[in-house]
């Protein structure tokens, strides 16, 4: 009797296991794709990877426009801290842009492994001054990030930007493969969906670009607008097939809180890499603006000294999207001499 029971129990257990496994496998393989737990993929559509795309906040990181304040603050001199403060004061002062508790991303151009005097990268003194200014305004955290062309660590080291930023109290973000995610920029011609250096942006409330003034072989000039190229990942080397279209896309992609044009040095030829002190001249100028096109146009006319030449094509493309005004002369500009 006990043996019979045991046989029956074993049989029920065995049948249960076989039925469970069969039904489980059958359900997973055959249940219609919408059903929970179904793995069925009749045509390969479900198996396609769907990278999650993200978007930057509507309107970017810009603050309320002001009807009265100058659009452009220009400071001339040699003491970087005072010049930066003067230039920013001219457009409303740092407290207009950075409030207590803000997480600020400062985006310098550290594209190449060049020492600062060669003018291919943002001056470390300007980066440091900007970081200090933000912290003074109460920023809870200041980050400095760029995705250089050459080896990131080497670029940040040789340019002096890493040390300057860290000493001033910022955190430096060097890009790794995991730091990029697909960014959607509706309306962009070429980079409507493009890998973006996302990690330093997590939790950021303000973004300030700080770019050197450089001659550029293809784009003719690289200043605050082209600086955002350093936030892109992926196949950046294709972007040169329509560089002006891309720079106009960059202006659309990133609407900064404000930008600083670092005219302490001007790489006036052999850009964007330079490599000789003969390619660099002193600029003794810092520009702050909420309009990167106006800042760039000022750089083109005044710092690169190309006032007579037509502006590079990206200005018109970006301006036609309402992303700024290249006509800095008729925009409200205030120039200050510092020390």
């Amino acid at each position: 009797m006990a043996e019979m029971d045991e046989d029956r129990r074993r049989l029920l257990k065995g049948l249960g296991a076989v039925a469970g496994l069969s039904l489980g496998a059958g359900y997973a393989a055959l249940a219609p794709p919408g059903w929970p737990g179904s793995l069925r993929d009749p045509d390969g559509e479900r198996g396609k990877p769907r990278p999650r795309a993200l978007r930057l906040p509507e309107g970017g990181f810009a603050v309320e426009p002001s009807g009265v304040l100058p659009l452009l603050g220009v400071a001339r001199g040699s003491r970087v801290d005072a010049m930066l403060r003067a230039a920013v004061d001219a457009i409303g002062g740092i407290r207009r842009f950075v409030s207590a508790g803000d997480v600020v991303l400062v985006k310098p151009n550290v594209a190449f492994e060049r020492s600062a005097p060669l003018g291919a990268t943002t001056s470390p003194e300007v980066v440091a001054a900007l970081v200090r200014l933000c912290r003074e305004a109460g920023a809870s955290e200041v980050r400095v990030a760029d995705n250089p062309i050459e080896s990131p660590a080497a670029c940040f080291e040789r340019s002096g930007v890493r040390k300057a930023a860290v000493d001033a109290g910022a955190r430096v973000y060097l890009p790794t493969a995991a730091d990029f995610r697909l960014l959607e920029t509706p309306g962009a011609t070429h980079i409507a969906r493009w890998p973006f250096f996302w990690r330093p942006f997590a939790g950021v409330t303000k973004v300030i670009g700080v770019a050197p003034v450089k001659d550029h072989n293809l784009c003719r000039a690289s200043m605050t607008t082209k600086n955002w190229y350093g936030l892109l990942g992926g196949r950046r080397n294709q972007l040169h097939q329509d560089i002006h279209g891309i720079v106009a896309d960059l202006a659309l992609m990133l609407r900064p809180t404000f930008v600083v044009l670092d005219g302490t040095r001007v790489l006036w030829r052999s850009g964007p890499t330079g490599g000789s002190l003969a390619d660099v001249r002193e600029g003794r100028t810092l520009v702050a603006s909420t309009d990167s096109l106006a800042a760039d146009a000022f750089g083109w006319d005044d710092l690169l000294g190309r006032a007579g030449e037509p502006l590079p094509a990206y200005f018109a493309k970006a301006a036609s999207r309402g992303l700024g005004t290249p006509d800095w002369r008729s925009a409200n500009a205030r120039e200050v001499q510092v020390g």
């Binding site: 074993r10 065995g14 296991a17 069969s22 993929d41 009749p42 198996g47 329509d242």
Partner: protein, 561 residues
């Protein structure tokens, strides 16, 4: 035996089994034989691959989906859960090949056979192989195709056997028996088909089949990951061989024909038994039966002293000294499972961080067939069965060599335009692919017609000119075969036309070709037809392929959804 009449004996279960094996081997070869444009006509050409439950399970691990026909794995899974590894000795064509070879070339006597069919610890290896392959699959590197018997056999037939058989069928055999030539695998193929690394695929077959002379069913017992998979499942099987200890005299004759080395003379290893049923045939005492729901142990039911003749079971004297009747699970110690798991964890990065399968180091000649999913997904899906290579009418699809695709991509399909070209109106490879590595692709999708006009044609690469080898560019000689054969409209190859005076004073107009990259689909017919045959003056590389964001060439180049 003498009791039954001859016609009854002809219906012995082992004879039925042989008929089943012959049928499935024949069906297998028939389906590969119809894997060809003129014969395909709706046959499920990849049926065996689709009903291979290891293919379905491992791709479900790597892709989290079950593609198209892969649910057919249930057709093998359920019988295994009921009967054990019967697939191995009733259906599997590769198993049949090994059994037949072992039988044909066997020189052992009965005693030798009995010894050769005892279980050996070596047979654990297949479980370790399985564990390594499944761990890798879960991480995204599907490598079951290296050793899965169906993949292995399909590949071997496609790449080595069919090309070897066809010329003799068409030649000598056809002269002996007129009409035999119609049996060739690839009727109407303009030239003998050649395959990269066919020698290795062929020699591997000889080596594995030859191993049967040393260890019977060596592949099935020691290496086969599908057998291991079914072996793990067969612990649940409701039927198994059961030994009656009141009849068994421990003569070991059951081992004479034991295909699986499953120890029917002692505690039957369920995971090893192929359900060939030879042991039942061979038992002189009728002590073995294939029973439903047998008891896992009889030792507790034996009354009296243990030992032959003195103890009894159910009133009958126990004859066998060995009272154990069942080993449920594979004989693999836990620490060895652990080792295999760790090995799989490490093997994945070893393979994946090899340069050739990476976005940063992809080989320019790793040109995937149209409809292929992007490379990381491709490597999650491709089982290296080479059905695509088998069906490809122009022979352009080749099993990738180590130098092109590393070990991870070994034997996956790549295009070699020195051999053939991708025919414009052909999507056969996507039709036969069992796993969706080449997604089922309509002609409209391939060519970018109709609903697919917006996304454009599928591009598999881009053509480039080597002006130093091109006749009109370098040698004052008119040519432009490439422009002539270019199948896109408008043509993806244009020419700069120039009238010049040659070195010998003759005037000549040269049409110097160039590529229009937005139009080129990478079909490679320009390279195939280039008169500079050894190292063509126009050649295709993978850049510009539309399946990948990393390998696009042009800014805004259309990407496939």
């Amino acid at each position: 035996m003498s009791g039954s009449p001859a016609w009854v004996r002809a219906f012995r279960i082992t004879n039925v089994r042989v008929v089943s094996q012959a049928f499935f081997l024949g069906l297998f070869l028939f389906l590969l034989w119809v894997t060809w444009l003129s014969r395909l006509k709706g046959y499920p050409a990849s049926l065996f691959l689709e009903m291979d439950p290891l293919v379905g399970f491992a791709t479900a691990l790597s892709t989290h989906t079950v593609y198209r026909w892969l649910w057919r794995g249930i057709l093998v899974l359920v019988p295994t859960l009921l009967l054990g590894r019967a697939f191995c000795n009733w259906v599997c064509p590769y198993g049949t090949l090994h059994q037949a070879a072992g039988w044909l070339f066997d020189i052992r006597g009965n005693r030798g056979r009995i010894d050769a069919n005892r279980y050996r610890p070596l047979y654990q290896v297949k479980y370790l192989v399985l564990a390594v392959l499944l761990v890798m699959a879960a991480l995204g590197a599907l490598q079951i195709g290296l050793l899965d018997p169906i993949c292995l056999f399909v590949r071997t037939v496609a790449v080595a056997i069919a090309p070897a058989v066809d010329p003799s069928l068409a030649g000598a055999a056809d002269r002996l028996v007129p009409g035999f030539g119609a049996l060739v695998f690839k009727p109407g193929a303009p030239e003998a088909r050649v395959f990269a690394g066919a020698w290795f695929v062929g020699l591997l077959l000889l080596g594995l089949v030859g191993a049967n002379l040393v260890v019977p069913r060596f592949f099935c017992r020691a290496l086969c990951p599908l057998g291991a998979f079914l072996g793990v499942l067969s612990r649940f099987s409701l039927f198994r061989i059961d030994r009656d200890v009141t009849k068994c005299t421990d003569c070991d004759l059951c081992l004479k024909g034991c295909e699986g080395a499953a120890d029917p003379q002692g505690a039957l290893r369920k995971s090893e038994c192929f359900v060939c049923l030879n042991c039942i045939d061979d038992c002189p005492e009728d002590a073995l039966r294939f029973r439903f729901n047998p008891r896992p142990s009889v030792a507790g039911l034996v009354e009296g002293k243990s030992g032959p003749g003195t103890a009894t079971l159910g009133g009958l004297p126990v004859l066998s000294r060995d009272l154990a009747v069942e080993v449920k699970a594979p004989d693999v110690p836990r620490r060895r499972w652990l080792f295999a798991g760790v090995a799989g964890l490490l093997a994945f990065p070893f393979l994946r961080f090899s340069k050739d399968v990476n976005a940063r180091g992809f080989h320019p000649k790793a040109i995937r067939p149209p409809g292929s999913v992007a490379e990381p997904e491709f490597l999650e899906r491709c089982i290296k069965c080479d059905q695509c290579v088998n069906v490809c009418p122009t022979n352009v699809l080749q099993p990738a060599r180590l130098a092109v695709a590393g070990l991870e991509g070994l034997w996956t399909p790549v295009m070699d335009f020195a051999v053939g070209f991708c025919q414009l109106n052909c999507v056969l490879c996507s039709e036969v692919c069992p796993t969706g590595a080449i997604r089922k692709t309509s002609l409209a999708r391939k060519l970018g017609l109709g609903a697919f006009a917006e996304q454009g044609p599928i591009r598999i690469g881009t053509a480039f000119f080597d002006r130093g080898r091109c006749l009109p560019w370098a040698m004052e000689t008119p040519c432009v075969v490439c422009e002539e054969v270019c199948p896109t409209t408008p043509k993806a190859i244009g020419t700069y036309d120039e009238a010049i005076t040659r070195w010998d004073g003759r005037p000549v107009t040269l049409n110097r070709p160039y590529v229009r990259p937005e139009l080129c689909i990478g079909c490679g017919i320009c390279q195939r037809e280039c008169p500079v045959v050894d190292d063509a003056a126009v050649y295709v590389t993978a850049v510009g392929e539309s399946r990948s964001d990393e390998r696009t060439l042009l800014l805004g180049g259309k990407k496939q959804a």
